[in-house]
Symmetry: C2
Subunit: 206 residues, 2 copies
Amino acid sequence: MKKQDLLQELRNIRSVAMASVDAQGNPKNRIIDVMLADENAIYFCTARGKAFYQELMMKPVIAITGMNASWQMIRLQGEVEHLTKQVMWIDKIFMENPQMKQVYPKDSRYILEAFKVAKGVLEWFDLGKEPINRECLRMEDDVQLLQDGYQIQTNCIGCNKCLSSCPQQCIKQGKPYHIVQSHCLHCGLCYELCPVHAIRKITECA
Amino acid sequence: MKKQDLLQELRNIRSVAMASVDAQGNPKNRIIDVMLADENAIYFCTARGKAFYQELMMKPVIAITGMNASWQMIRLQGEVEHLTKQVMWIDKIFMENPQMKQVYPKDSRYILEAFKVAKGVLEWFDLGKEPINRECLRMEDDVQLLQDGYQIQTNCIGCNKCLSSCPQQCIKQGKPYHIVQSHCLHCGLCYELCPVHAIRKITECA
């Protein structure tokens, strides 16, 4: 999947979950509409009086997740940018999302403020097919990542324990054995069972 | 809405978003199935090898949100309890959610660990109807809360500014004027416009 397809898919799903962190360091989560998408970013808005707005202004990071009708999930975690030219952005959002006029009629729309997410990590995860499928990329340069996955190192002794226990059968023989990353659940069962600790956890982007 | 109806509705929606906080204090968010619900709690599971598991064990707080087909949202933010008797819980989850056997066949299911959420704040929000409707309650005692809302105080001068600008027309005349809490968006427009600062922000449960 390409970055712009994933961003467009978030816009198609439209009502996605957006998580922020409050002043106490606790997570908050609510359904918010993706109002616009272009090839590099998604855009949303929230009202200045809401806790969500305060949280984003205090700590401009976000974790977004949505699921489409085919049970494919998209995740985006990254930085939030508070846009300049708010009136222009809010008017653009209302033009492309006319249902917003029902909720915020007339000039009440300007209690809303628009934000953009253009930096971070995009993940696509398809649990509905067999084998499961996943992909992860960094938005800034479209580079593929192995976020939160596992890798088998050269001290693998080829004992077959990981291969025979993997719930998704995504481990292949070789020297060393290897994990087909796109089909891995990241469950960690191979990591726990390896008798020589040849499997390491990777976190390419913390 | 009663607590147990909201918990059951989260189970009916099933695939909901669950947000946690990572070691860096950033939010993470992913789609997880609500596996069981009873009158006091919901239950879910995740694999020991996943970042989500590590995050919950480090900081056992969660923010859940889901939306049903009628565009009604349910939110639950609270404490996560790591269950004892894991084998019993995982077997119960697989009994009531047989599709899980496809993803974690045979004994691979025991890489999963079960969690419960029984303490926190439950919120129900219906944006699809006019007027919009919301309710919020504390799980421990089923008491209604006015979380993150606004209240008009006795220094209100009855100037009508809030009433005439409210996007949801949920402010009523009186001494002082008052906000019909169940129809309030929490947008904060009245709060910004009040010439005598008679409106205060409430956060009953921070």
